[in-house]
Every structure is written in C-alpha cells, then in structure tokens.
Symmetry: none
Subunit: 219 residues, 4 copies
C-alpha cells in the first residue's frame, strides 16, 4: 500500500535534488552558460534522467522560479493575515520577509528577470505561464491589500495601492540585482541586508500620510 506514497516521495526528492543542483550551477555559471549536462553532473545523474523530471530546460528553470515565488507568496500572505498588528508594522515585517526570500534562494531576482524575458515566456507551457501569472498577482495583491488597508485607516497616503506594491517589489529586485553585481565587480562585502532595510524604512516613511502634509489638497 505505502508503495505508491514512497514512489511519490522519491520522485519529489529527485525533483528537489535536480532543482538544487540546478540552482548551484546557475549561481556559479549563469543562465546561458549552464548546460543540461552541467546540471546533470552536479546532480550526479545522467542527462537523460533530467528529462524524466522536467520536460526541458525551460521547464526546469520555470520550476525554480515557481518554487521561490510560492515561498514568497506564502510568507507575505501569512504576514498580511496578522490583523492584530498595525499596517505599518506588518509592512515592516514584509520588508524583512523579502530578505528571507532572498536567503531562501539568492537567485530569485536573476531568476525572475530571466523568466520575464519575452523569449522565455513565449516558450513556456500555457499552464506554467498561468501559474506564474497567478502567483505574481497574488503576491503583489498581498502587499497592495495591506497598503490599501493602511490608506483606508488614514495611515498611508492615498495613492494607487498597486503602484505602491509595485514599488515595494521594485525596491527589492532592484537592490538585489544591483548589490549582486556590485559584489561581483568589486568582490566586496555584501551590504544587501543593511541597504534593503534602509530602503524599506525610507519607503515606509515616505508613504506615511503625515509625510504628505496637505495631501490630498483640501477645500
């Protein structure tokens, strides 16, 4: 009886094993220089085996993105749900959560920007594409929802919550990309955590209503 489950678990393990190997190689060699054979070697499998678990290179890459998107989505939603905390506090928690997401998978932004290149998007299966879209929407929605709540409560300035959520995400992705490349160019210390914290602090200060005196213009 338990056989089916065991098989399922083993399949899941291999999946993870491959994805982990892929992440390692990608981190080292970048997207375009990484070959399926590289990944197979890293996973100590044969090239053919990869195709038993992923229908192709793009699908494997897409899975990497999905996985971290799911993690991020989960984290943000669970924070959004903590209604006993103030909006401001929860937004601060979300900012912290983003750093966790980065630690969970430092490739996230590179991954995401790779995914977003049109050439990749065009080759993905409709199904995976939908999953990605849905997750993106859900994630942005979690942030936008919280900000929306803050606006209603008069805590945040009344601007389009989706735009503000976009900015929230942009700060994260922009900084990750930038710090990563600074690290590479100068092989210097990693300031990401501190800078990210500062950026979100500024962001939150910047959208607090009292920072915008006389806005919106009153009669």
């Amino acid at each position: 009886m338990g056989i089916r489950e065991r098989k399922q678990r083993e399949r899941e393990r291999r999946n993870q094993q491959i994805m982990t190997a892929a992440r390692r190689v990608l981190t080292r060699k970048g997207f375009n220089s990484t070959t399926m054979e590289d990944i197979a070697k890293e996973a100590e499998l044969s090239p053919g085996t990869l195709y038993l678990y992923f229908s192709g290179k793009e699908a494997l890459y897409a899975s990497l993105s999905l996985r971290v998107l799911q993690f991020m989505n989960m984290r943000l939603k669970s924070i959004a749900r903590k209604t006993d905390m103030s909006c401001r506090r929860r937004l601060a928690l979300m900012a912290q959560a983003m750093y966790d997401v980065y630690q969970f998978d430092p490739l996230i932004v590179v991954n995401m920007s790779h995914m977003q290149s049109s050439e990749i998007l065009l080759n993905l299966s409709e199904e995976v594409l939908e999953q990605i879209k849905a997750l993106s929407r859900a994630t942005t929605g979690a942030v936008a929802g919280l900000i929306s709540e803050g606006i209603e409560k008069g805590v945040f300035v009344d601007r389009n919550p989706t735009a503000l959520a976009d900015i929230f995400w942009a700060i994260f992705s922009g900084l990750v990309l930038w710090e990563e490349s600074k690290k590479r160019l100068n092989s210097r210390k990693d300031f990401l955590k501190d800078t990210l914290e500062l950026a979100y602090r500024i962001f939150i200060k910047g959208i607090e209503k009292h920072a915008w005196p006389g806005y919106p213009p009153q009669a």
Copy 2:
C-alpha cells in the same frame, strides 16, 4: 591632413550604425535569441564586418551598455552642477532625468542586468570592464555627492550617501524591469512614467530629515 579625422569619423558612424541595429534587434528578439547575423542583416552589413568594429558579441553588447551609461552620467553630472538649485530640487530633477535615460534607450535596464550577469562579466576584456566600473562609480558618485551635500546642509537624513544612491538606482532599475515584464505578461498600458515619479517622490519624502524626528538620537 583631414584624412585621418575623416576615417575616424566614418569608423564612428559605422559603430553607431551597428549599435543602433543591435538595439533594434535586441528590443524585438531579446538577448538570447539575437544572433550576430540578425544584427548584421538589420545593419545591412555582412557578419564579418561586425567583427571589424567589435571584437565579438559580448563586446558589442558591452558597448551598448557603455553608451547609455555615458548618457546617464552626463545628465546626472550636469544636474549636480546646478548649484543654484536646492539639493531637494536637484534630486527631483535627477529622478526625472532617469526617465529620460529610459526613453533614450529603453533597453537600458535589461542591458544592465544582462551585463551584470556573471557569465558576461567574466568574458569581458579588462579594459571594457574598467570603463564600466568607472562609469558606474561616477554615476553613483554624482547622486551620492548630491545627497551628501544635502546631508551636510541638514536637508536629508544622515545615512550612508552611497547606500542612498544605490537605492536611487535600484528604484529605477527595479521599476523598469518590473513594468516591462508586467507589460509583457498582461500587454497592458504602460504605467512606468507615473509609477517612477511616485516612487521618487516617496523616496525624497522618505529621506527628508524632518521625516525622521529625533534621528539620530541625541544626548
């Protein structure tokens, strides 16, 4: 006498011609799907000719990045120099300038993030790499310098100016990437200009000293 200069000018023209063609193709087909032959065709040249002007594909791509970096650098520096304006005002102008940069070359961020991928950086000539580093530093420096000035004048909160400049850049690159991909996924209207303006407004509000009452903690 003028022969040498004429040659030089002609060479420069060809250079531009190729880069323009490259930008057009890249915009249409993306980085990985664009071949040297594509670019040659677009430039109405033969593949071989491209190699008379650029040592290889990576070098050509690097040149694209350099060109826009130079433009950006020029714009930001010229704004920094307008010492008759307030720091706050000049920062706002810089924010606007960033959008001009985007319009000058919408590929900029994709380009930059492409450049920043380790695989490319590893293959660039030391010389080009140095140029890129120098320009990056100069550009960040222009922003950081202005912010520094603002801090000294007590306008901005006293935080590491370089970190703040990084955030300034991150907001730009993050938003451009994100809005581009939203456009692609949803083929919707382009909100970049508005969102970018909002983001920088928030940023500037967020770093204004009076937004941080009691900071730094005083004895």
Copy 3:
C-alpha cells in the same frame, strides 16, 4: 508435467501480445517514430519486459516479418498442393491469397521493405536471417514450382520460373506500397483490391503460352 507446456504457452501468448501491440503502434506512427516505450505502453507492459521476449528492437521487427511470411508461405503452399486444379486456376488463387495476406497484416510490405534495407539486415542475428532467407526461398519456391509445372504442361511460356515468381511477388509488393502512399498523399479511396486483381489477371494473361505465338522460335 503440463507445467513446462503451460509456461511455453504463456510465453507464446506474451510474444503474440507484444507483436500485436507493435503492429498497432507501427501502423499508427511508422517505423522510425515508434519507440520501444510506445510498444510497451500499447502492450500494457513495461519496457524491460519487452526485452525478456525479444532480444532487441530489430529482433522484434524481424519477428513481425517472419510471422506474416509464415502465413503467406502456408497459404501459397496449400494452394500449390491442390493438384486437382489447373495451374492457371491455382495461380489465380495464389493471386487472391496475396490480398488475404495483406488483410492479415497490412504492414507486410512496409515491413518487408524495412527488413530489406541493408541497415537492418546487417544487424540481425545469423539465426533470424537464416529463417527469413529460408522462408523467402520457400515462398518464392511455391510460386516458382507451380509456374514450372505450368511450363512443363505447356500452359505458360517457357521463361525462368524463379524470375516469374519474382515478378509475381513484385507486383504485389509494388502495388501495396504504391497504393498505400497514394492513399496517404491524396487520402483517397482504396483501390488496392481491384488494382491487384487486374494486375494479376494481366500477369496471367501475359504468361500464357498462346500469348507468345512462335515462342520460343522453332526450327
């Protein structure tokens, strides 16, 4: 005691099961596009099992050919034996029998021409190769024998009986291949039966002695 036989019978059943599945898939997908896995799936077995019954892909394909060759051989021989009928009549019956063979396994000619391609022949085991040769010879022999008899009786023109038997087979295989491909190209009605009948009628008329007046030239 019956155990050995039962095993033998079961083995035989599996053999047939696999061959039937193979024929179905081959008909659907063609030789080169059919994989062992396809066949295994169709037979509701695992790929590994196929190798317990056939030493490899080529051997399986060879078996398909052998099976129909055996059927054809049996039919032709049984007709040859009906010595109460005229040669002419028996030859006509053989012609009809060929169409039965086609119905028994429409893949026959494709199969045979596949088998005959040098690449396959080179890879077959000596044993299977011998079987095929023997059957071919026997089959041609059955036709040639009958024609020989007819020649002796003065019914058919005196030409090399083996050559005539070859032509007998060639008419069949040529027409099957051709009509099959016409069907595919034009997805039209199937004229095989009628055309085959006509062809053999012409063949028989053509070898009747009285069609060759003055042959062989007499002193």
Copy 4:
C-alpha cells in the same frame, strides 16, 4: 556582372556535391543509419555547411527524390511525345526508360518508399510536398495518357488507364526493391535488367486487346 551567375553556379555545384555525397552514403549505410555528419564527411564539408544548402535532413532527402523524379518525368514525357511510333512501341520504350532511371539513381525506389512513409511526409514543407505530388501525378499521367491512347486505338484492353499506369510503376518499384534485397541476402548476380524486361514484356502482352478475347462482353 557575371558575378551573380558565378555565385549561382557555385551554389548549384555545392548542392550537387552534397546530394552526390548523400546518395553515396545512403547507398552504403541506409536511411536511418546515415547521419548528417556522415554526409558532411563524405562531401568533405562541415556539418554546418549542409544547413546552408538544405534546411534539414528531411529536406535534403526530399531533394534527392525530387531530382530523380524529375529525370524520370522528363524521360517518360519525351517518349510519350514520339507520336510517330505506335503505342505499343512507346510503352516498350518507357519500360526501357525505367531501367535507365534506375541506373541514373539506384536509390530511387528506396528513396521513394522512404518519402512515402507518413512520418516523413508530415514533416515536409507544403511546398516540397506539392512538388512531389505534382511530379508523381505528371509521371503517372504520362504513362496513363499513352495507355489511354492505346485503348482508344483498340490496341490495349479497355481498363482504367490510371490503374494500368499504377501497375506499370508497381512492377518497376516492386522488382527493384526485391532484386536489391535478393542481391543483399544472397550477394548474387544482379538479374534486375533481365527480369524487368521480362516483366514489362509480360505486362504489355497482358494488356494487348487480343489477349482478352470477348472483352468487354458483348451483347
């Protein structure tokens, strides 16, 4: 001025060079065992070059078929046009011509039967497919037309000319395939020419009207 033509001629030469090499390798190794690299080596070119002249493996193979089809078509049509000869004579000439076609390219039938496999047909460009269909039709038409004429003149028995033309072709292809494989199995002498001649003699005798006394049944 002459440059364009020279280029054109050189291109044509390369085309021929590749097709010749392909034919040689195919004859030696068969269709499925022949790789593009094999062909490239035989042509003393690099694999990549093959793709400058043929869009892919199938296209190259299709070209081989087209070439011989064109040759055959030309020959048959030119014979059909010799209206100063009797139908019977011209049909005999056509039969001889078929052997020439075989000598022009002994792969013809294998080629044709390869082309006709559905899996190949499905992958051909619409254009090439149309060419093949048109040529097939024209070729069959040339034979059918001649037979038709013979029927009208009361020389041949009144049966569907297309069916008779199909049989004409089937005799050829069936015999070529069969003799080829006999040659391979027994590495014996080549009887094709003689057997083919005999077959067509029988065919012609078989369709002559006087071979069918009382046909069609008269009132």
